[in-house]
Structure formats: structure tokens, C-alpha cells
């Protein structure tokens, strides 16, 4: 218990004189995303982040503290709504029937092999996490706006486009990381080679852009274009590493936002724009997506240490092998400063990966990261609760909890 609370306790003693909102702190970022903060401004950014969180939402803190002691029990949302839940995935799938067939229809390619490559990951075996969030958000916004019970065709298109942009970036990431398995099968680059894999990624991106243009809404185009830019910038952030320990955490959160959360946040925003004219709702949708997205990635980074590769469908400790220091490592480094040198050389010496892994498992880096993910989830719940109640809204609340408890 004591160790669970230490970052919170520490932050009280580290309280900076003037509190400056950290750009990636939940609920505080502008809707246009984040810009890297100067190191001088944010001393101990993530403690600052915790501090701004806990003082802004004391009740969230209380809930999450409770939550943290019993992480397997998703209790907090039950207090918010008396409704009996259906599985959010089932609820979302009602509007997503034929999702992958429809995506394959967008990939109008005459060459057999190129078509096969582009369709490789649209085999219906993915979690479709992004499309599910998008259609649930669409319905939640529509009901909030005018009690409409329908999902517009354009909103469903956003679900397709989100999955396509995600897949295009996966294909490119796998070439960049020289990855050999994903979702339990061999990667495109391992089967067809890097040269063709890159083109397949470009092709999926172009098909997504065509579908996006056909929606015929320039605002929506701008919103989703931001995602493409963020994905590239996130990849660049991943190339560099910061020497300063404090900058490192801000850098990590910014990268997490750009590489994962931006897509979810902006597609949520896009469906809200299509369904409802109220900018307040757009911001709620964006903030929900952003916070769930960051939590999702934080848990992903935890699972890289705690899960076995069979469960994940991809090798574990993958981040360390790529030289990346994710949340659990950065927290562990607080307890074991000797990890600093390893982070700086990107775990390149023989034995570094194993040693770092051991350090992480001995430290409470995993708990700390999970705890941080909970903060983001609670912020997501706080945002989405501003919408009028609906089964879809409650499903989104439940989904943010599933993000925390998932094991693959």
C-alpha cells in the first residue's frame, strides 16, 4: 500500500512554486495536441502532472486509490449508472458488421499481390479497438445532441478510416523496427520484403485519404490529417532520447500521445463534429479519446514486461530490444539510478535488455505505470460523463476500464 502511494506523497514535497500545467496532463491539453515543453519550465514534469491531477480532482484520486488496491474490480463506474452493461465490444459491433469487407472494398487495387498485402491485416482477427470506440462515440454524441438513434454513414466511414490509418502505420512501423510477428502472424515485411511492405503502407494510407475526402467535410479532413502528422512526429520523437531525466518523461508522454492517442482522440472528435454542432461536445470527445489512448498505450508498455509473447501475438520486451525506455523503465530508473546509463546507450550492450527487465520487475515501475494509466482513464470517464446518459456512453466508460484490465 505504501509503495502504491509514494509518487503521490512525493509530489507533495516536490510541489513547485508556480504550477504550470504540463501539456500532456490529462484534461489540460488544448485540442490541437501538444508541443514539447522546455525543460526549464517543468521541473519533474510527471510529479507535477500527478500533483495537478490530484489537486484538481480530489475525488478522482480517492476513487483511483481504491481502484488501485483492487485493480481487478471495476467498481467506480457502477456507482455512476445503475444500468446493466452489455459487452461494449458487442454493442459497438452492431454498427460495424462487415467492417473488414468494407475496408477491403476501399482498397481498389488491380494487382493481386499488392491487394493481398494491403488486405493482410484486415482479416477480422484484430481487436478493432479503434473502430469500436469511434462508433460508440458517434452514437453517444448523436444521442446527446438530438436523441438520434442512428449512426450516420459518414461516421461509420471514420471508423474504417481510423482502422486503415492505424494499419498503415503498423506496416511502416514493422519495417522500421524490423519486426517479425504481429497479431500472431508474420509481418508483411517478413513475407514480402521491405520494399513492397513500404508501398503497401503507402497504399493503405492513400485509400484512407480517398475515403476521407469522399465524406466531403473539410473540417473532418483537417482533423484526421493532424493524425498523420502526429504519427510521423511521434516516430521521430522515438528516434531521439533525452539526457535529462525529467525531460525524458515528458518526451515519453508526448510520444505516446502522438503515436497512439492522437488517432483515437481525433477520430472521436471527427465523429462528434459530424454528429453534433456543439464545440463543447467536440472537446469532450477529443479529451475522452486522448486520455483513453494514452492509458491504452501505457498498459501496452506494461504488458511488454508482464505478458508472455503468446498472449500478445508479438514478442515481449520488444521495446527494450528496440532501445526504447517506456514508462515502467522510467519509473524503475527512479529506484535504480544505475539504469540511467543503460537508457542512454539504448540497452545496446549485451545483457542490457535482461538486466533492465530484471530491474523493472524488482521495482514498482509496473505498478506506477498502471497507476498513471488509471489516472488517464479516470480523466476519460470524467470527460465522457458530461454527455447525456446512453448505453453507448456507459459502454465507453466500461471500455476505459477494460483498457486497464486487459491482458493482451
Amino acid at each position: 500500500m505504501a509503495s502504491c502511494l509514494w509518487p503521490w506523497r512525493r509530489c507533495c514535497s516536490w510541489r513547485p512554486a508556480a504550477r504550470s500545467p504540463e501539456p500532456t496532463a490529462p484534461g489540460r491539453a488544448g485540442s490541437s495536441g501538444t508541443r514539447s515543453s522546455s525543460g526549464a519550465r517543468t521541473k519533474m514534469p510527471y510529479f507535477n502532472l500527478m500533483e495537478s491531477l490530484t489537486s484538481s480532482f480530489p475525488n478522482v484520486c480517492r476513487i483511483s486509490w481504491f481502484h488501485h488496491t483492487a485493480p481487478a474490480v471495476c467498481c467506480c463506474s457502477k456507482t455512476r449508472s445503475g444500468e446493466k452493461y452489455t459487452d461494449p465490444f458487442k454493442l459497438g459491433w452492431r454498427d460495424l458488421k462487415g467492417l473488414y469487407e468494407d475496408i477491403r472494398k476501399e482498397l481498389l487495387i488491380s494487382t493481386t499481390e499488392l491487394k493481398e498485402m494491403s488486405e493482410y491485416y484486415f482479416d477480422g482477427k484484430g481487436k478493432a479497438f479503434r473502430p469500436i470506440i469511434v462508433v460508440l462515440m458517434a452514437r453517444a454524441c448523436n444521442i446527446h445532441h438530438n436523441n438520434s438513434r442512428d449512426v450516420q454513414a459518414s461516421q461509420r466511414s471514420i471508423a474504417l478510416i481510423a482502422e486503415m490509418i492505424h494499419t498503415a502505420s503498423l506496416v511502416h512501423d514493422d519495417v522500421i523496427d524490423d519486426a517479425s510477428s504481429r497479431r500472431g502472424k508474420r509481418t508483411v515485411n517478413k513475407i514480402w520484403g521491405e520494399k513492397k511492405a513500404v508501398l503497401a503502407g503507402d497504399l493503405i494510407l492513400s485509400a484512407a485519404s480517398i475515403a476521407l475526402a469522399r465524406i466531403g467535410n473539410t473540417t473532418v479532413i483537417s482533423i484526421l490529417t493532424q493524425v498523420i502528422e502526429d504519427l510521423v512526429r511521434g516516430e521521430f520523437l522515438q528516434l531521439g532520447s533525452k539526457e535529462n531525466e525529467n525531460e525524458r518523461f515528458a518526451h515519453y508522454l508526448e510520444k505516446t500521445f502522438k503515436k497512439t492517442a492522437s488517432l483515437i482522440a481525433n477520430s472521436c472528435k471527427a465523429v462528434s463534429v459530424l454528429g453534433c454542432p456543439d464545440p463543447v461536445v467536440h472537446e469532450i470527445a477529443y479529451q475522452y479519446g486522448k486520455n483513453v489512448g494514452i492509458a491504452f498505450q501505457l498498459i501496452d508498455d506494461v504488458l511488454d514486461f508482464t505478458s508472455c509473447s503468446q498472449q500478445m501475438g508479438k514478442p515481449t520486451s520488444a521495446d527494450l530490444k528496440l532501445g526504447l525506455a517506456t514508462g515502467p523503465v522510467l519509473f524503475a530508473c527512479q529506484q535504480f539510478p544505475e539504469m540511467n546509463a543503460m537508457i542512454m546507450r539504448r540497452f545496446s550492450l549485451p545483457g542490457d535488455v535482461d538486466r533492465a527487465r530484471q530491474y523493472v520487475l524488482q521495482s514498482d515501475g509496473v505498478q506506477q505505470t498502471t497507476y498513471l494509466a488509471q489516472r488517464y482513464c479516470h480523466e476519460a470517464i470524467r470527460e465522457i460523463s458530461k454527455l447525456r446518459p446512453s448505453p453507448e456512453r456507459d459502454a465507453l466508460i466500461q471500455l476505459s476500464e477494460i483498457v486497464l484490465t486487459r491482458d493482451k
Partner: protein, 401 residues
Amino acid sequence: MSLQQLLLRFPRSLGALSSHRRLWWSPSLDTISTTVGSWRGQSSRSRAHWNQVVSEAEKIVGYPTSFMSLRCLLSDELSNIAMQVRKLVGTQHPLLTTARRLVHDSRNNLQLRGLVVLLISKAAGPSNVDASCQNCDMVSGIYSCQRSLAEITELIHTALLVHRGIVNLNELQSSDGPRKDMQFGNKIAILSGDFLLANACNGLALLQNTKVVELLASALMDLVQGVYHENSISAKENHITDDIGISIWKEQTFLSHGALLAKSCQAAMELAKHNAEVQDMAFQYGKHMAMSHKINSDLQPFIKEKISDSMAFNLNSAPVVLHQEFLGRDLWIKQIGEAQEKGRLDYAKLRETIKAGKGVTSAIDLCRCHGNKALEALESFPPSEARSALENIVFAVTRFS
């Protein structure tokens, strides 16, 4: 061009920069192929002629066509790419070759697409429809949104140039150097290509015109498919190309070389709110000009006065495909077999064989045929110096003397 600007910052690491870059430009320098050398040093007369055509055209569009966006240049990512590309110096990764050529010998060639988009914008002028276009500031008769479009066209083209230079890691030879270097080169090539594409998407979104976004997105899709065909053809090792006729060749070449220019020209008309008819004429000009430009470049190895004999040429180029079609598949395979020596293809010998056939002359005819179609499309535009410049570009690529 942003990538170029960045590369210009490191002249020493990328080889000496010549101050006479423009002299290297000739219509034959179209594609950067990793397997087939590009054809430099056209006869000095036609090169001088081409340079004159282009420098006159550049004057017409107001200011030199330097398509670099400040936003792009000042970004952190760009200096990051620059640093990473530097690390590649000394390796065998093709990204270096692409980068070197972007800087070195094809500065203007890269910008030909942008220049044509600007010229056709000016040739069409403002439309009669009183369009309350939000980007209505016009400089030298060209809307600022059309200038952005010209830049986007160049960004997309360059992104694909960079992406086509990825290497397959499992096919590496020992002469390629360490696998680690190649892997790193791939990483940088993907990232810089994606960076250029993201900038293109961003620029497109700012144009606030969904039809233009759709046109350019479909042009990107065409280009990717075209590059895919080109790659799979150049990957063939036994020198036996696929048995494609000239009509399939035309389809594939349209995808890889014509679609982007054709659709950008059409989009430029859409931005000025011209009707469907004008849009179609602009599309036709872009398409046929690009086709005759490509055939011209394919012809260079067969018509140039001075050429080193052993120089390789593309077996999927227009004259070779036509030669093959006249000859029939069996005879062609026989001819290729005869030109092989110790498993290597004797290009000098094969070139003479092809020159003796009808492939070269019919490729010249085909080039002129596309040139004429491009000129026909231009007739629907009112006479102007911009239109004359577009005509002169066609004359320059269809001139064989």
C-alpha cells in the same frame, strides 16, 4: 524542395555540388532507378534548348519555382533527418544515392511537375464563375492555392522517390556492407518519405477542397501501384521481362509517370472553379505530356550520339517493349539469350539488335503521338505566354534530331 534544401546543408558529406546544376538537367533524367543508370549528357544542343524552354517558363510563373515551405524547413524533424542521413554516409544504402541525385543532377527536373501545374494554372486564368474563393490572392496570374498545389505535387513525387529506395534485408549481398547500416537506412528512408507525405496531406487539408483532396489521394494511389510495378519488373534477375504489350505498358506507365501530373493539373483547374471540360483538358495535357516525356527518356540510350557501350538500359522501356511486340515473344527470348555472356547481359550487343528493329522508330512515333494529344488539349486554352511555354515543353520532348 524541402529535402533538397536540407541536403544542401551538407554538401561535403554528399559529394561536391556543382554550380552548374542546371546544365545537368535534361528531359531524359526522369526516373531515379536503382538498377538502371540514368541517361545523362544528352547532346549539348538539345540540353541547351531544354534549359532555355524551362527558364523562360519559370519567368512566366512569376518567381523561380522553389517549392520549399518554410514550415517544413524549420521543423525539428527535418534537422533530425539531416543528422540521420549524415550517419548513412559511407554505407551502400540507396537513400544516399537518391539524396545525392536530388541535390546533384536533377534539381529542376524534380520541379518539372510543379512548374507545369503553375503554367497550366496561369494558362487557364481565373474562371468566369464569380467564385468567392478564400484563397483569392493572385500573384502573376496564379492563385496562392494553386501554388500550394504545385508544392504538394512535388512533395508526393519526392516521397515516393525516397520510398522506392528501400532495400530488402534478406536479399543483401556481402558487398552491401553491414545489415545494420541497411536497416538504419531503411528506417530513415521510410521516416523521411512519411514526413514528406504527412506534409503533403497537411497542405491538401489546408486547401479546403474535398474534390482536390480526393484527386491527389487517388494520384498517390496510382503512383504507389505504378512504383510497385516498376519495382517488381526491375527485380527480375534473368533479364526476361514480363510479356506485356504496349497497351499494358501504357497503363502501367500512366500510373507511375502520368497520373500525378494529370490529376494535379486537373486539381489546379478545380481550385480556380473551372468547369469539368476545362478540367478534363488540363488532365489530358498533364497525362500526354508526362507520357511523351517518359518515352523521350526511354529513347535516350538508343538515339544519343555519344554513349558508353556497356551502359545498361531498362528492358521495360518503351523501345524495348515495342521491339518485343514486333518480334514476338519467342524470338525476343532468343535474342536475349544470344546477348548473354557468362550469365551477364551484353547491353551493347542487345542495343544494336534493338536498333536494327522497328522498336526505336515506333517509340519515336508514340512519343510524338502523345505530344500531339497534349498540344490538342492545349488548344482549348486561350493563347498566352503560359500556353506557349507549355507547348514549348512538348516540342522539347518530342524533338529528335
